[in-house]
């Protein structure tokens, strides 16, 4: 639907900043989206993966003879073959963690339940699964390693023998002087243990791929839903001996990722090997149980021996803690995630002394990967737990202690103890907005009135930062040899032969509305309606522009993606103006672009439609003004102004923008059962300049919904033998429409001084609901047993136990008076 605008309308408004209908919606509501499993190729064959029933076992023998003889079977692939055909995937960790060998199928040993052991390729998906039932694998079960803490014990199993221990990576982060802070403090609050549980965002579309090998050019075409394809290429290429430019990744519509689809390259590699082996297009469909068993989990993290020096007035001076991060059986995107928490070291707070002794370990569980709020939410959750516990132990108000310790708006831009720069924001104001949304005063009053009646009301706050646009240079903090620095995105904006403006970007949107917001930006610069701007869908490195970091992750599109689009559109605008100026004999700055035409300002008759300009350059090119060199095909690479961090001090700016998310909630707890009901939920966000407020609000809703689920219902659990006991939606209780309340939102706009358009990356939400709900539960516990909410997952049973914890039990918290 194209619309002609009057001059007045154009001059008084910009498309950016308006919630126009999304361009994506037309096809998606009609079921015309094209998702990875919708791709069909002539003569395709189907893969089924036989997966390990054990958490940890040696593979003594694999017999595929019966499977290969089964009807319709084309080929099988075993770990023994993979051992010859594949080099281990690159490891991000330095040695000895870097000795870990990760293959696309288990070689010799299985290290998590659900690890693929044998791939069967057959004419139909059913035949492949039928034949997989005939594969015989002789396993020798081994003791399983389930917790991060156990992984560090000397007497337990070692998962990857060559490493010599279960440690992937260890780093001491030490900024300011925590020892001096402890000396200066009036009190030290000690918390024995906090545990951040394992969960995942479970995008409703599971992983899927169709891989076709064309021997003529030795090229692999990969239709898939990987959300960071060049990262996948970087892992797959060297491992499979394929030049990365022979891997043609194509993504179109993607049914959610939340980071989870970044590591599906392991499965794509299986398809690539089979495609070459069989000469057939290979189609792989992952089902939910496969996805929960072997897709990608969020990091589980345990914080031990936390010490918080505080002043009597509630001023927090610093934090000292040990952290053990459990990345599952193979560190696939890890330990890169291990440094990402250091983007938000002090959270929203002013304290400047931080020491975190950080260790990442492997266990017999599914490998982790990026998951909405990746690695920052664990750390931010720990900080928010600390704030509430300190407030309660010192008998201070949970709101007041936050406002007192928050970084104040006049301190922006603010350099954190580790050299990150918070660009802008007003945390106290966001908190006030969030409290207004939940009718804070009313509920505090109600809480007092209900005291002693058996009704339990809790009020909680979660303050988080959504750090966006990541400096990959921080990878060097883990591994000095990693040649990463900075970040970027590229876009091409061209005027096509028929006068259509066409935009390509390297990103892999999964609902964030890139087509719409890119069109808004281009429409504003080129004097068009967004409907007149065509934005090509998805990543296609065989046809479109891309960078090494192209993709959709780490809350960056509004900055990197739109920064690239803006740069390319400005270049095209300049070319159009030059061309029109040449045609009309006017100065370039006398040209204006209105409604698909270029014209001389104030001279309505001196106008040429875009199709006319395109015609001059692409068809009628003898008429081009002399000496003019224009292509109408403009590419721009946006680079944020990052520097390489100081790897020894672990110091430097790791992120470009910091959106704020302050959430607040009111809960009611059923004392008899421990069931939690959310009565009010409010989220105040500051994402800088808003390009499309409705999309931003939608991201806030979504992050809140997932966080509420994680806080109360969703946990990936393993038993002591390494059996996953929540491998499907029966046991992994993804939140439904009746679990999530009507989330209220408010927004302020503190433009980022560092991004081209004042926007900030957002969308991850920093796990704010986990913080807010735990905070509210803590508020409840302090009315009863003073039990500490020490776990991020609080289903009814755990709340029930906390409500019944003996008041004389060790609460795991001690307040030490500092006599020094």
């Amino acid at each position: 639907m194209s619309q002609t605008l009057t001059e007045d309308k154009v001059s008084i408004k910009t498309w950016s900043g308006q919630s126009i209908p999304r361009k994506e919606d037309g096809r998606l509501v009609k079921g015309q989206g094209r998702f990875a499993d919708d791709i069909r190729r002539h003569h395709e064959a189907h893969v089924y993966l036989l997966r390990s029933p054990y958490g940890h076992a040696r593979i003594r023998a694999v017999d595929v003879s019966a499977a290969e003889a089964a009807p319709g079977v084309i080929a099988t692939l075993t770990g023994a073959e993979v051992h010859f055909l594949q080099k281990p995937f690159m490891q991000i960790a330095p040695l000895p963690g870097g000795y870990i060998e990760d293959y696309c199928l288990a070689v010799d040993k299985v290290r998590f339940m659900g690890e693929p052991v044998v791939a069967v390729l057959a004419e139909t998906a059913e035949a492949a699964r039928d034949a997989a039932d005939l594969v015989e694998v002789d396993y020798e079960p081994l003791p399983a390693l389930i917790t991060g803490e156990d992984a560090l014990k000397d007497d337990g199993p070692v998962l990857h023998g060559k490493v010599g221990s279960n440690v992937v990576w260890h780093g001491l982060y030490d900024w300011g002087s925590i020892d001096e802070a402890k000396r200066k403090a009036d009190k030290i609050v000690k918390i024995d243990r906090l545990h951040f549980h394992r969960f995942t965002s479970t995008p409703i579309e599971c992983n899927a791929a169709v891989v076709e090998y064309y021997p003529g050019s030795e090229e692999y075409t990969i239709w898939c839903n990987n959300t960071m394809p060049q990262f996948a290429a970087m892992f797959m290429g060297p491992a499979l001996g394929i030049p990365t430019d022979r891997m043609h990744f194509i993504t179109q519509d993607i049914g959610g990722s939340f980071g989870n689809k970044i590591t599906n390259y392991v499965y794509i590699a299986i398809c690539a090997i089979l495609a070459k082996k069989s000469g057939r297009p290979v189609r792989w469909t992952e089902y939910r149980t496969d996805h929960i068993l072997g897709g990608s989990h969020g990091n589980e993290r345990t914080f031990l021996d936390i010490e918080v020096p505080v002043k009597n007035d509630g001023t927090i001076l610093g934090i000292d803690a040990r952290a053990i991060d459990d990345c599952g059986a193979y560190p696939r995107y890890e330990p890169l995630g291990s440094v990402i928490w250091s983007q938000v070291v002090p959270g929203a707070y002013q304290f400047r002394n931080v020491r975190v002794d950080y260790t990442q370990v492997v266990t017999n569980k599914c490998p982790v990967g990026p998951n909405r709020g990746y690695s920052r939410l664990q750390h931010l959750w720990m900080l928010e737990r600390v704030i509430d516990i300190v407030a309660h132990e010192l008998n201070l108000d949970a709101v007041a202690i936050r406002k007192q310790n928050y970084i104040q708006p006049e301190q922006m831009p603010y350099e954190t103890p580790n050299g990150c720069v918070y660009d802008s924001g007003d945390y106290p104001r966001c908190l006030d907005l969030a409290l207004d949304l939940i009718h804070y005063d009313h509920w505090r009053q109600r809480q007092r009135e209900l005291s002693g009646t058996g009704k339990l009301i809790g009020i909680g706050i979660g303050s988080t930062l959504d750090s966006g646009t990541n400096n990959f240079g921080q990878a060097r903090i883990i591994n000095h040899d990693l040649p990463f620095s900075g970040n970027g995105e590229v876009s091409n904006v061209k005027l096509d032969l028929y006068g259509e403006v066409v935009v390509t970007i390297g990103t892999t949107p999964q609902g964030q509305g890139h087509e719409t917001t890119a069109a808004q930006v281009v429409a504003d610069l080129l004097g068009l309606h967004p409907d007149q701007v065509r934005v090509l869908i998805g990543h296609d490195n065989g046809r479109n522009v891309y960078t090494g970091f192209s993709g959709t992750y780490a809350s960056q599109f509004a900055v990197t993606g739109l920064g690239a689009v803006r740069g390319a559109a400005l270049k095209l605008k300049n070319e159009i103006e030059l061309l029109a100026a040449g045609i009309f004999g006017a100065a370039p700055d006398a040209i204006e672009l209105v409604d698909g035409t270029a014209r001389v300002k104030g001279k309505a008759e001196m106008a040429i439609p875009f199709i006319g300009l395109a015609n001059i350059v692409f068809a009628n090119n003898a008429t081009i003004p002399d000496g003019l060199d224009v292509s109408l095909n403009c590419t721009y690479t946006y680079r944020p102004s990052f520097k390489i961090p100081d790897v020894e001090r672990k110091f430097g700016n790791l992120t470009l923008t910091y959106a704020t998310q302050i959430h607040a909630c009111v809960i009611e707890v059923d004392e008899a059962t421990g069931e939690t009901k959310i009565l009010e939920y409010g989220a105040a966000d500051d994402s800088g300049t808003l390009i499309h407020p409705q999309i931003v609000e939608g991201q806030v809703h979504g992050a809140a919904g997932l966080g509420i689920g994680a806080a109360l219902y969703e946990a990936l659990e393993y038993d002591a033998e390494g059996q996953m006991i929540s491998p499907n939606f029966y046991a992994y209780k993804a939140v439904t429409a009746v679990d999530v309340p009507m989330i209220k939102t408010a927004a302020i706009e503190s433009p980022s001084p560092f991004s081209p358009n004042g926007a900030k990356g957002m969308g991850e939400g920093g796990g704010a609901p986990l913080h807010a709900i735990c905070s509210a539960l803590q508020d409840v516990m302090y009315q009863r047993t003073r039990a500490i909410v020490s776990d991020s997952y609080n289903p009814a049973e755990r709340v029930y136990r906390l409500l019944r914890q003996s008041e004389t039990a060790n609460r795991g918290v001690h307040v030490i008076e500092n006599r020094a």
């Binding site: 089924y48 998906a125 059913e126 699964r129 039928d130 039932d133 089902y287 939910r288 149980t289 496969d290 008899a672 059962t673 069931e675 009901k677 109360l712 219902y713 659990e717 006991i725 929540s726 491998p727 499907n728 029966y730 046991a731 209780k733 939140v735 439904t736 009746v738 679990d739 009814a796 049973e797 029930y800 136990r801």
Partner: protein, 296 residues
Amino acid sequence: MALLLRELEYVRPDSLEDAVRLLSELPDAGLLAGGQSLINVLKMRIGGYSTLIDISRLRELKAIEVGEKSLRVGAGVTYDELMHSMEVSLHRPTLVDVVGRIADPQVRNRGTLGGNCCYNDPTCHLPPILTAIGTVFEARGSHGTRMIPASEFFVSYYQTSLGPGEMLVALHVPKLKSRSGDGFVPLSVGGTDVLNIIAGAATVTLAEEGGIEEVVIVVTGASERPIRLESVEEGLKGTAGQPDDADRAFSLLDLALLDPPDDVHASAEYRRDMVPVFTRRALEQAMKNARRGIHD
């Protein structure tokens, strides 16, 4: 698990008689009604049958008839059909409420009463309430029809007393007597009625002066089958059913009766603790409903 089932045979008989005959003649045959549990078992390839006998369209299994003392509800009636049955809402309204809570509209549009009972998963809604209200199950096999009281029908996890070749054809649900009321309160995962950790069900009949004349209290999820809390029932009989009475009666709860499972959703200990909570809530609901009858 995947959406890929093992090869199987399918037959859709035209009559109940044929269905019963096929069930006894075919080796390893199973009945497919709504399929809302069975199809998941087939997807997991952890069993199932080599032949499915589709009974979902048999008219004989769809009827709801009103008798003198009870309703005869066909085993093939779907939750959705039951929810919209005037007969059931008039004579045993609690069933309309209970099935209206099961899972979601999609499941209610296909899932059947018979399927729910024959699957007899302890997380199901119907076994406890049907036990509490004294439902009798009508089974048909090659040797004819037999009537099985609920207390004997539900045997253990996933097991009923139906014999080989026997099929559930109808449920005989007693009509609600005057001064009576039912209650059903589950503790479900996330509070959303998809999967019940435990469920309490109760039915009470009050004497004219308002005291408890008859009471049945049932719980599922506390052991391998729906069980009655007989000691509590005894303690309640003849009382006014006031909170003090309930306190006294529940103090008689025989914990030895309980042998709850321990799984990802809840520990055995928590389930045990929740038994008095949810059965009592069910009792209170039943009392409220019974008293409403009196005041009306």
